[in-house]
């Protein structure tokens, strides 16, 4: 590519590589080197020759855990390549669907060069617009349009927080699919305090933040308690809780939380004292919630890597049997981590309602709770990895509009690229096969 900007779009992900290795995760290590090439993925899963344990509560879902763990701990290279390949395929789609390319391909055999030139133009225009929209566009008319980077940060804010929620749960061995529901609950609690109460300025915002964290923590905690006490699988429970959260907020919006006089299920607006102050004046939407998100990243990085609690959670996540034998209380760990995870997702809800939405409706969580899973996957479930992955997704959102407007490319392309990223991240063997990377190996083969 002569125009390198199309590539730069994903450079925001690059630091994730170094940030990842800072957190002391050790080398990438998925399953064990497996019995044979053909059965590599399957056999890696069942290496333990353990007989059914008669000790307290064995994990029935060992196999699934292993697979998810391999996905989550895939190397940074896999993350970067997944993004690159997704962008390349997205580029092909742009080229194929472009009208000028179609026109030029009508006389492809006479003038093949024209088709390629048209394709090149289409793709570079689209990704150029995406990149400029997400960062800096000197040609735009408004301040907001020129400095898209701040829109990127704004979109990234709830993604960072919700991504952290998925990340920390995963590090303790739990797959929290329920960020969506926890965001909704967080936003609902935050909203109830934000438009329902009159408090002095700073205190009001603090109360909103705390309420949001509590709301999310309750929702996460339910899944944690059910997991710890009954062994109910957290994936199932959190999915169910997502539905319950949505129905609950709809019910409340039609009754207790409905704005007076409104016919729609929308709450009153947040009081001025309950919203995040804007960081860059009225021209930009960037709000103090972003600072909260950065603080959360630092805090979670500390918690996971430097604190005794984090040590415990990581041990439980990596090997619950060894953790139990070392005196850790696994069930308590599950509850604690789901409370923290839920609280983080709840804060994402606060970032939504006190940062950008300003009132509660049933769409308050958008697709953040689900994008958060991708973000955590892409960030390889390290706090800083998650941070940079969230920035990338924020950039997709911020730049996607500009791409649609300025390059006349459907915004759905962004969705396609995001989905492809999920696909490639979730199938590291695919990426490894494409680039002939070596299977990450710890040993396990006959130690």
């Amino acid at each position: 590519m002569r125009d390198p900007r199309g590539v730069e779009a994903n450079e925001s992900d690059q630091p994730a590589v170094s940030a990842g290795s800072l957190t002391g995760d050790g080398p990438a290590d998925g399953g064990a080197p497996a019995g044979s090439a053909g059965e590599a993925e399957l056999t890696g899963v069942g290496t333990s020759g353990r007989l059914p344990s008669t000790a307290t509560g064995g994990d029935g879902d060992h196999t699934g855990k292993r697979i998810v763990r391999e996905i989550m701990s895939g190397s940074a290279l896999v993350s970067v390549l997944a993004v690159v390949v997704a962008l390349v395929i997205g580029g092909l789609l742009i080229a194929v669907t472009d009208k000028r390319v179609a026109a030029a391909s009508g006389y492809f055999f006479a003038e093949p060069g024209n088709t390629f030139a048209a394709a090149w133009t289409a793709v570079s225009e689209a990704y150029g617009a995406l990149l400029r929209g997400a960062t800096y566009d000197p040609g735009a008319r408004t301040w907001l349009g020129q400095l898209g980077i701040f829109e990127t940060l704004t979109f990234a804010t709830p993604l960072i927080l919700a991504g952290l929620a998925v990340t920390i749960a995963f590090r303790a061995g739990l797959f929290n699919i329920g960020a969506q529901g926890q965001i909704i609950l967080g936003a609902t609690f935050a909203g109830a305090v934000g438009f329902g109460l009159d408090l002095p300025p700073v205190i009001h915002l603090l109360a909103v933040i705390v309420a949001g964290a509590i709301g999310g923590a309750i929702w996460g905690g339910i899944a944690g308690v059910l997991k710890a006490r009954t062994g109910a699988h957290e994936v199932i429970v959190t999915i169910m809780l997502n539905y319950i959260a949505l129905s609950l907020v709809l019910y409340l919006l039609k009754n207790q939380l409905k704005a007076p006089g409104s016919t729609n299920p929308v709450s009153p607006a947040m009081k001025d004292s309950a919203v995040f102050p804007l960081l860059l004046g009225d021209n930009f939407r960037l709000h103090a919630g972003f600072l909260l998100a950065v603080v959360a990243v630092v805090a979670i990085a500390w918690l996971l890597n430097r604190s005794t609690l984090g040590f415990e959670l990581r041990a439980i996540g990596a090997n619950p049997s060894a953790a139990r034998t070392a005196g850790m209380i696994v069930s308590r760990g599950y509850i604690v981590v789901m409370l923290i995870s839920g609280a983080l997702a709840g804060l994402a809800g606060v970032a939504q309602i006190s940062g950008t939405e300003k009132s509660l409706d049933s769409e308050v969580a958008g697709s953040i709770g689900f994008d958060a899973i991708t973000v955590a996957l892409l960030g390889r479930s390290t706090p800083w990895g998650t941070f940079f992955a969230a920035l990338l997704f924020g950039a997709f959102k911020a730049g996607g509009t500009s791409m649609a407007v300025n390059a006349d490319v459907s915004i759905d392309i962004v969705l396609v690229v995001q989905s492809l990223i999920v696909l490639f991240i979730a199938a590291p063997p695919l990426i490894r096969a494409m680039f002939r990377l070596k299977t990450p190996s710890t040993r396990g083969a006959g130690a």
Binding site: L51, R306, A322, T442, G446, A447
Partner: protein, 518 residues
């Protein structure tokens, strides 16, 4: 089929695990491979099996150079491998596991298991394996799972079979059975590469022995060589195989187990009304065939079991009903039977594993913050003290060789003041030099005045360490006998006779023998 490795070198970063190794396996030969923990035996075999690409060197089969890009290539070339940690899918049946990766399919890709079942039955019949193709793997004893691995290789027409420490997980009977299977395989023309730390086994069955030390080939030996000679060749110094320990001077019985009964969820008795005591400065070894309640007994003491009746006291304090943390805090050091499952977190560094149950204590943490400097210092010291062979203490423990992983567990549990030390299979997979060292450490712990309980299925280890020996059979205590009891007595007790019955039987057979003589 003749196999030749020429100048194989394999490095992991700066660590050279295999350094120009030459090895020839003749057709129909059983080739023993000896070496210390971390010498590079498994690495060499993984190279041979296509799991690792050698940094240099070549593999020749029947004098033709071959190159493997994965185990599939190696299998196609007739090489099969049974890893120490089995690669079976626990929830699949035997037939499904055997078919995996080489599925015979019928019309429209429908899995044709019948063909596989038939092959399994054929091989079972030929070698007397007694394996049911439809049994689910996780329900099978370890020894049978191992046979499934062997069948897997044979179904793929392996003509060279690599067995990496196959006996480490087997009971003595299972080991004998495996050895006879190996003989049959040899007679039918299969070549075998056999790795073990038990010199007795290798002397019993190997045709030639290659010794590797620190990645280099240091020599070959014949099985007729003396055990001490082999040990010296492996370790590079002379090893004393007999431990000259002083007699115990047991003090007060500070650890007492009274009428301990452990049940599983279904109400079956795993440990049945067991009572014993261990004095300070004394080692009680618990012998028995694997699966007779030893594991559950130790786990119950640690607080890992739900359904426990009876009493366990340490220094007069009741331990039953307490959680693991409280038991550990009461001064118990615990080495679990299976290091990979219960003892270590594979993805954690050596340093982190060395504080797995100490992270909450000074100096490893202050308040809720880990003290990384103290953790690193501790790790450096323990790696040196226990001779853990590793490039650094910050590598994941999973990259260590098996025996070195075991040393990490022992190092952790022996590095704090203890009131009781319980170890299950303390030297499983550990080389002779390190066994000597670890046994000395355990005796030193005893001589400090700690009551020690050792669970071991190795009779050699039991006889070497024990001041007294308790034998469990079907969860019940068959009696406690002195540490110097005879193997035959212990053998009878392990088969379910009480100490007095066993003694009576021995006396009876002794008198008949005498009677015949006179």
């Amino acid at each position: 089929m003749k196999l030749e490795l020429k100048g194989i070198t394999k490095s992991f970063g700066s660590l050279v695990a295999n350094d120009h190794i030459d090895l020839v396996v003749q057709p129909g030969e059983i080739h023993g491979l000896l070496g210390e923990n971390g010498a590079g035996k498994s690495t060499l075999m993984n190279v041979l099996y296509g799991l690792y690409e050698p940094s240099s060197g070549e593999i020749l089969i029947d004098d033709k150079a071959v190159k493997f890009s994965g185990p599939a290539d190696a299998m196609a070339a007739g090489i099969g491998m049974v890893h120490q940690h089995f690669m079976l899918v626990p929830v699949f049946t035997v037939a499904e596991n055997v078919a995996l990766g080489k599925e015979a399919t019928g019309f429209a890709g429908v899995l044709d298991l019948e063909q596989t079942r038939k092959k399994i039955r054929d091989i079972s019949a030929k070698y007397g394996f007694d394996v049911d193709p439809d049994a689910v793997v996780e329900d099978l004893p370890v020894g049978v799972q191992q046979r499934v691995e062997i069948i897997k290789a044979l179904v793929r027409d392996a003509r060279i079979l690599i067995l990496d420490e196959p006996t480490a997980v087997l009971t003595p009977q299972e080991t004998d059975e495996l050895i006879s299977i190996m003989r049959q395989l040899k007679d039918s023309g299969t070549s075998l590469v056999f790795i073990t730390h038990k010199l007795r086994e290798i002397k019993a069955i190997a045709d030639t022995i290659t010794v590797i030390r620190r990645g280099k080939m240091v020599g070959t030996a014949l099985p007729s060589a003396a055990t001490t000679e082999l040990a010296a060749l492996m370790v590079g110094r002379s090893v004393s195989l007999a431990l000259n320990k002083a007699d115990a001077t047991p003090g007060e019985e500070t650890f007492r187990v009274r009428n301990l009964t452990v049940m599983d969820d279904a109400g079956h008795r795993l440990v049945d009304d067991v009572s014993f005591g261990v004095g300070t400065g004394e080692i009680l070894a618990i012998a028995g065939v694997q699966g007779n309640g030893q594991t559950e007994l130790t786990e119950a003491v640690l607080g890992l079991h739900k359904h426990v009746k009876g009493s366990v006291t340490l220094d007069g304090r009741e331990l039953v009903g307490r959680n693991v943390r409280q038991v550990l805090d009461a001064g118990v050091g615990f080495v679990p039977e299976d290091r990979q499952i219960d003892g270590l977190v594979e993805h954690f560094s050596i340093a982190e594993n060395l504080i797995l149950d100490l992270y909450g204590k000074a100096p490893f943490s202050r308040g809720s913050t880990l003290n990384r400097a103290a953790i690193a210092r501790h790790a450096e010291a323990k790696v040196v003290e226990f001779d853990v062979r590793t490039p650094s203490a910050s590598v994941p423990v999973g990259t260590l060789s098996g025996g070195n992983q075991q040393k990490v567990v022992l190092a952790r549990e022996l590095s704090r003041p203890l009131k009781l030390f319980i170890a299950s299979q303390p030297t499983r997979g550990v080389d002779v030099g390190s066994i000597e060292f670890l046994h000395k450490r355990i005796i030193a712990e005893r001589d400090k005045g700690t009551p020690v309980v050792i669970v071991s299925t190795e009779l050699d280890e039991v006889l070497e360490l024990a001041d007294r020996i308790a034998v469990l059979y079907a969860g019940a205590l068959m009696g406690i006998v002195p540490g110097k009891s005879s193997r035959s007595l212990l053998g009878l007790m392990m088969a379910g006779l009480t100490a007095t019955e066993a003694q009576a039987q021995l006396d009876a057979s002794a008198t008949t023998a005498e009677g015949e003589l006179s």
